[in-house]
Symmetry: C2
Subunit: 145 residues, 2 copies
DNA sequence: ATCATATAGTTGCAATAGCATCCTATTTGC
DNA sequence: GCAAATAGGATGCTATTGCAACTATATGAT
């Protein structure tokens, strides 16, 4: 009946959500590669790139590039950590702070869009199941490294 | 409790599954960008690129590039459709046919990995919920175009 | 029959992302 | 105290992907 593999579901869903988010962020000069970093920085002002990389679960190179773009667009500022000059402390700029509510609204809209015609309990279930799959994927990737 | 957005779940899960699949396909010269095409061609020998693009839900350029790679690696063959010389008919080569069982096993392993510690009914539910989200995403993307 | 339009596929470009490597600053071991 | 190892971050390269523009073939309206 439903013989579509998880691999395909995840791939298509990812690419489609990218298209939706890119479309909504375009007018702010941002793309799908940056918005999750803004959310994370808003939650933890002064965070460094290593911690951001861990939270975002990506490569440190990806973090560096996303932050470069956010900095050049004026959404964030990087301050050398004088206590350990290998680190930067990352903060939202005023422009970044001002954008956060808009961004949260955009993300809320995306969540609503994806969960159209789903009950609250189905939404919870979805997150739980995604969470389980993600945990399994993380363990497998750890095994590979 | 669980305030991770769908956007982040989907993004991380996609990237991690890519890492897993890339790792498993590496020894065959393939990457995550090609394997779903092989599955689709195995199911519909002689399919053309437009139909493949529709099934894969991606851009026709992505299809063209994936098929170029599969062809240069010897997994598929493209025959001009003499009835309409704009089309190619896509077939698996002998090498491609021979690889399909291996590929199916790899995908089965991925599915098993992702669904570790999930009951059969949770797996079904996951697919149903992914399916709903995907339908919603498709509708939204249609709206944007 | 001809010319406009539509369609299948290709190519160029840009964005995202991971891996490997490099650089500089810090820490550790002797 | 200094050499070696480690750590945070940057850079180069490659793969995947989407969009836009292009080519070549086919269809349709006049």
């Amino acid at each position: 009946m439903n013989d579509i593999s998880f691999g395909k579901y995840i791939s298509v869903l990812y690419r489609y959500t990218q298209i939706i988010i890119n479309h909504q962020l375009k007018e702010y000069g941002l793309g799908s590669g940056q918005y999750l970093f803004l959310i994370a920085i808003a939650k933890s002002p002064g965070i460094n790139q290593k911690e951001l990389t861990a939270q975002m679960m990506n490569d440190k190179a990806t973090t560096a590039k996303a932050l470069s773009k956010l900095e050049s667009l004026g959404y964030i500022e990087r301050q050398k950590d004088e206590a350990d000059r290998r680190n930067y402390k990352i903060f939202l700029s005023d422009k970044g702070e001002a954008f956060i509510p808009t961004l949260r609204a955009i993300l809320q809209t995306l969540t609503s869009t994806l969960s159209t015609e789903m009950t609250a309990s189905e939404i919870d279930q979805s997150k739980e199941l995604l969470d389980k799959m993600l945990e399994n994927a993380i363990k497998e990737v750890d095994r590979l490294k």
